[in-house]
Amino acid sequence: MDLPAPRRGRIGGVLLNRLARRLLAGLPAFRVITLAFTLLAVAAAVAILVQAELLARLLADGVLDGPSAGSVAGLLALLAGVFAVRAGLSWAQQALAQRAAASAKASLRRQVLRRTQELGPGWLSGQHTGGLTTTLGRGLDALDPWFTGYFPQLFLAAVIPLAVLVRIAAADLASAVIILVTLPLIPIFGVLVGMSTKRATERQWRALERLGGHFLDVVAGLPTLRAFGRAKAQAEQVRRIADEHRSATMRTLRIAFLSALVLELVATLSVALVAVPIGLRTLNGGMGLETALLVLLLAPEAYLPLRALGSQFHASTEGLAVAERCFTVVDADGGPAARVAAAEVDAVPDAAAGIRFENVTVRYPGRDEAALDDVSLAIAPGERVALVGPSGAGKSTLVNVLLGLVTPTSGRVLAGGADVASAEAESWRRQLAWVPQRPHLFARTVAENIRLGRPDATDDEVVRAATLAHADEFVARLPRGYETPLGERGAGLSAGQRQRIALARAFLRDAPLLLLDEPTAGLDAGSEAVVVEATARLMAGRTVLVVAHRPAMVLDAGRVVTLDHGRIAGPARAEVG
């Protein structure tokens, strides 16, 4: 992450830490935005000066001479003009900042989403979906205050106090000195109070993320909780987490409000320090009213941008905590992408040319026993292999390695001489059709679910695939047939029906290598027979690896491989037949 040079030194590491700079690095038009904010800040400073000048002159005249409105018409018009300019500047700043916020959020969201997909299901299974979804939605929205508040305020805080100070110095040096001495107190106090915020905000954000993660998990498990009479007890848990978030939020807010109070008092006292001598000098005629008014109007303007910076900082810490969380995902280790980059992408593996597992070992984190232990296995082109073995033997793991969903701890899988891990995942997977052990159905129509792997398939092809999977019959009876929308995870269908949709999905895919992980799970013997028969027909000319507990499937295989405790237990005599 290399940043354009001018940014580094000037703004400094204190106000924009590494995290913030990384956020900004995601902006396409960073230089334009910086320039625009600088210009806006300068314009705002000028407007503030002119406004104070005009007001002071008008009011002083008003007190002392009592001019007619007509004689100061020019000044009044100018004043109205300045107000208009300030309004315009504030609009421009907001519009620009909002644009920056939107594009930064979109870019971060995109990065995180892409990374989650590269890291894949293995990594995701350790995450809370609800927590991640919360981060990507409500969480990233918390970045808005940073972009629309803190970031533009940085420019205002850099320009306005300086400009105001110079103007006051020109009017009255003594006041300028007081301001110059007291002004640094604001950032000093701000930093002192603000130091404790980072941890508190992280806790606050984690609480909300946990709330989201827990909530989604609990909603998915609500039927289970109710089945065991635990739903109401869970309400306490939900309330506890919601309350944790409340108290964590309150803690950060207390710091933020305290900081605002301290800064305001410092500013107020400082203004008083300026105002009292001015008042006294005006009293004994040492200073003209116009100058006095000018200094009085300008003095708070010197402190305001720095104070505002303080509150904007606190308003945006949550967003920064979220950004940090996002970057931990983006930077997370692992996933096939790392391998693709590491290995030279040369030959594209060819599924039709046979497959060889060479000493493949898979160790999941936190488990002693290897899920696959030095497995070597060759599958000839066009061969049909049934993989059997007790539950937990590593069958699904083996299939997932072949799919590139699980990265072997050691060893490799070759297809037609090329390492499947080194290939660009997509070109390898294009040659595969898969029925997972637990298929995921999306909350879309039946047809869209079947079309997942071939979005351009015609209706006829969809129906044909469904017929092969013994699904056409029940789909036709659904209220809107293939256009019936399913609920999440296929709600609205029976378990066996969901399985058949997944089968249809794989049949439609029409790929040279078929990977079936218990394709007939949840089916009655009748449906199973239909599916087995269809699969057998489909197998012609394809390489097939089928994980089967049900003997019906095993019977059709040319060879049966038994896995046990991650090892191949010899070229098994089929446990069947």
């Binding site: 009011l59 107000f83 939605g137 539950s391 792997g453 009876r477 609205g492």
Partner: protein, 578 residues
């Protein structure tokens, strides 16, 4: 809606009153500060004796300090009240979901519920902090400022009042007109984005292997852009409204200055009061300017809260008897179905059609039949998860509808087909069924489910995390964990929906034998596709298209032509392996 939100906030009335008064005090202090300070300077210019100013000097200091302290108090009180109301509302959303599960839940996507639970409820916080408090403050402070001006210079008061009304009423109302449609679409757009995200996160494997990841990412990106467009439009409208209000502030200040100068020239106003009147006008706008974002938030909050209330108001699919509930069934439990039919909403045919079933204490029944024939639906009916559309379920002779649903499930429960593993440890997952269970109880249940050896071989043992939806254990392990959990619940009537699915034949058969042995004497309903071992049950019910097409013992049913015999033949390869 207003009434219900008010009801929610009433519990925090004290804090809200503190917040509003402190906020009013803050703005009044600011107003007084500017007025006094201006007067002080102007008066000083007339060079009076110092004593004439001392009171004002004290006033300036007091107002300055007061402003800061009041603001601090206001913020603490308002946020505290708002966050409390927020936490309460979150709890209520969850409470409202409980009776919807399982059959009422599909009306919502869980990602949608998530965004209601996480984002939409926050509207209540905004409502307090950014709408309620600022609006009441603005009204009071504007009134005071206008009143003060009226005393000093009535013509200025008229202009100021007009200006404040323009900035605080007309501009916000114009914004309402401009932003209403956009604001209403924001919350649904957020929910839609969340749906894309959960699809990508939960379906990542299927998407990846079927080459659909890129499309799904693109769709998510488009949803993100749609949301960004809405947000941008909202922000621009708000910024425009803010700029307009600022402009009104400027013009009003200028106009008041003109009037003050005029009055001064006519002798209607003392010179010292010229800056006071002008600056009071300027500052009087400070509490009014936030009204522009406030109405924007109000619009968004309204649509978000509607979504929250919609959840709270969803009628549960199964009505509870309420106060007239019978006491929980005790003693031996007998259950009977009399002509029970179930039709899912929107379906054209019954999923369960006129089923009779008698479960006297200790009776064991197996339900078999083609996939989709209504077996799981039947069990859901027994657990009172679904209301029969015809017929009755009798529990100890009384209509099951007269019992509290939780009381029914305390005696009739088991493994459902979609049993969920929570993203926590094995121990916590099992304890869902019996929170008081000791580790020995857990291990005993795992033993019956043939999982004990595996659990004991794990480095973290019972503390092993199972991952999101049980994603870090194998399919068969997941199934058996759910089974162990049901065994732990140990209800008088056990329901087992395909307890051995996903297991290798030998384990499945051993497990089924064990199960049937360990549930001997206990009322049991087991749904299965494997016919092995069914000679041990008292009755086999064969279902087809929702109807019972055959019933009897295994011996009776294999002996006659019919669906059971067909199933038997079809599953012969399975039997051949035994």
């Amino acid at each position: 809606m207003v009434r219900r939100i008010a009801g929610l906030l009433r519990a925090h009335l004290g804090r809200l009153l503190v917040a509003v008064s402190a906020s009013v005090a803050t703005e009044l202090a600011a107003l007084a500060l500017m007025g006094t300070a201006a007067w002080l300077l102007a008066r000083a210019a007339e060079q009076p004796p110092l004593a004439a100013l001392s009171l004002a000097i004290v006033g300036v200091r007091a107002f300055a300090t007061g402003r800061g302290v009041f603001r601090y108090a206001e913020r603490l009180a308002s946020h505290d009240a708002a966050l409390r109301a927020l936490a309460t509302l979150r709890g209520r959303v969850y409470d409202a979901l409980v009776p919807l599960a399982p059959s009422g839940l599909p009306a919502y996507r869980s990602s949608d519920l998530l965004s209601r639970m996480v984002s939409d409820v926050e509207a209540v916080q905004d409502l307090v902090v950014r709408v309620l408090v600022p609006v009441s403050t603005a009204v009071v402070v504007a009134g005071v400022a206008v009143g003060f001006s009226a005393l000093v210079l009535p013509s200025a008061a008229v202009v100021l009042a007009a200006g404040l009304a323009l900035a605080g009423l007309v501009v916000p109302l114009l914004m309402v007109a401009a932003a209403r449609r956009t604001a209403r679409r924001l919350a649904p757009a957020r929910a839609e984005l969340a749906a894309h995200h959960t699809d990508l996160l939960q379906g990542s494997a299927d998407l990846a292997v079927f080459g659909a990841t890129a499309t799904a990412l693109d769709e998510a990106e488009r949803a993100s852009e749609r949301l960004a467009r809405l947000e941008r439009r909202t922000a621009l409208t708000t910024a425009l409204g803010g700029a307009a209000a600022m402009l009104v502030q400027g013009v009003t200040t200028v106009a008041v200055t003109v009037l003050a100068l005029g009055a001064r020239a006519d002798g209607g106003l003392a010179g010292v009061m010229v800056p006071v009147v002008a600056l009071v006008a300027l500052i009087a706008f400070e509490p009014v300017l936030p009204l522009v974002p406030a109405v924007q938030r109000l619009l968004e909050a309204r649509s978000a809260l509607r979504r929250v209330l919609a959840v709270l108001d969803t009628p549960p699919p199964v009505a509870e008897p309420g106060d007239g509930a019978l006491p929980a069934p005790s003693g031996p439990v007998s259950v009977a179905l009399r002509g029970v039919s179930v039709r899912y909403p929107g379906a054209t045919i019954d999923a369960v059609d006129g089923v009779d079933l008698s479960l006297t204490p200790g009776r064991r029944v197996a339900v078999v039949g083609a996939s989709g024939s209504g077996k799981s639906t039947l069990l859901a009916c027994l657990m009172r998860f679904i209301e029969p559309s015809a017929g009755t379920v009798l529990l100890n002779g009384a209509d099951a509808r007269r019992y509290d649903g939780d009381d029914v499930r305390a005696v009739i429960t088991g493994v459902t087909q979609d049993a969920h593993l929570f993203h926590t440890s094995i121990r916590e997952n099992l304890r869902v069924a019996r929170p008081s269970a000791s580790d020995d109880d857990l291990l005993a249940a795992l033993q019956t489910a043939r999982l004990r050896d595996w659990v004991e071989s794990l480095p973290a043992g019972l503390d092993t995390m199972v991952g999101e939806s049980g994603g870090q254990v194998s399919g068969g392990q997941r199934q058996r964990l759910a089974l162990a959990r049901a065994l732990l619940a140990d209800p008088p009537v056990v329901l087992l929906d395909e307890p051995t699915e996903g297991l290798d034949p030998r384990t499945a058969d051993d497990l089924m034998t064990d199960l049937l042995a360990s549930t001997r004497g206990r009322t049991t309903v087991v749904v299965t596709h494997r016919l092995a071992g069914l000679d041990a049950v008292d009755e086999i019910v064969v279902m087809d298209a929702g109807r019972v097409v055959q019933r009897g013992t295994h011996a009776e049913l294999v002996a006659v032509d019919g669906p059971y015999q067909d199933l038997w033949w079809a599953s012969r390869p399975a039997l051949a392996s035994e």
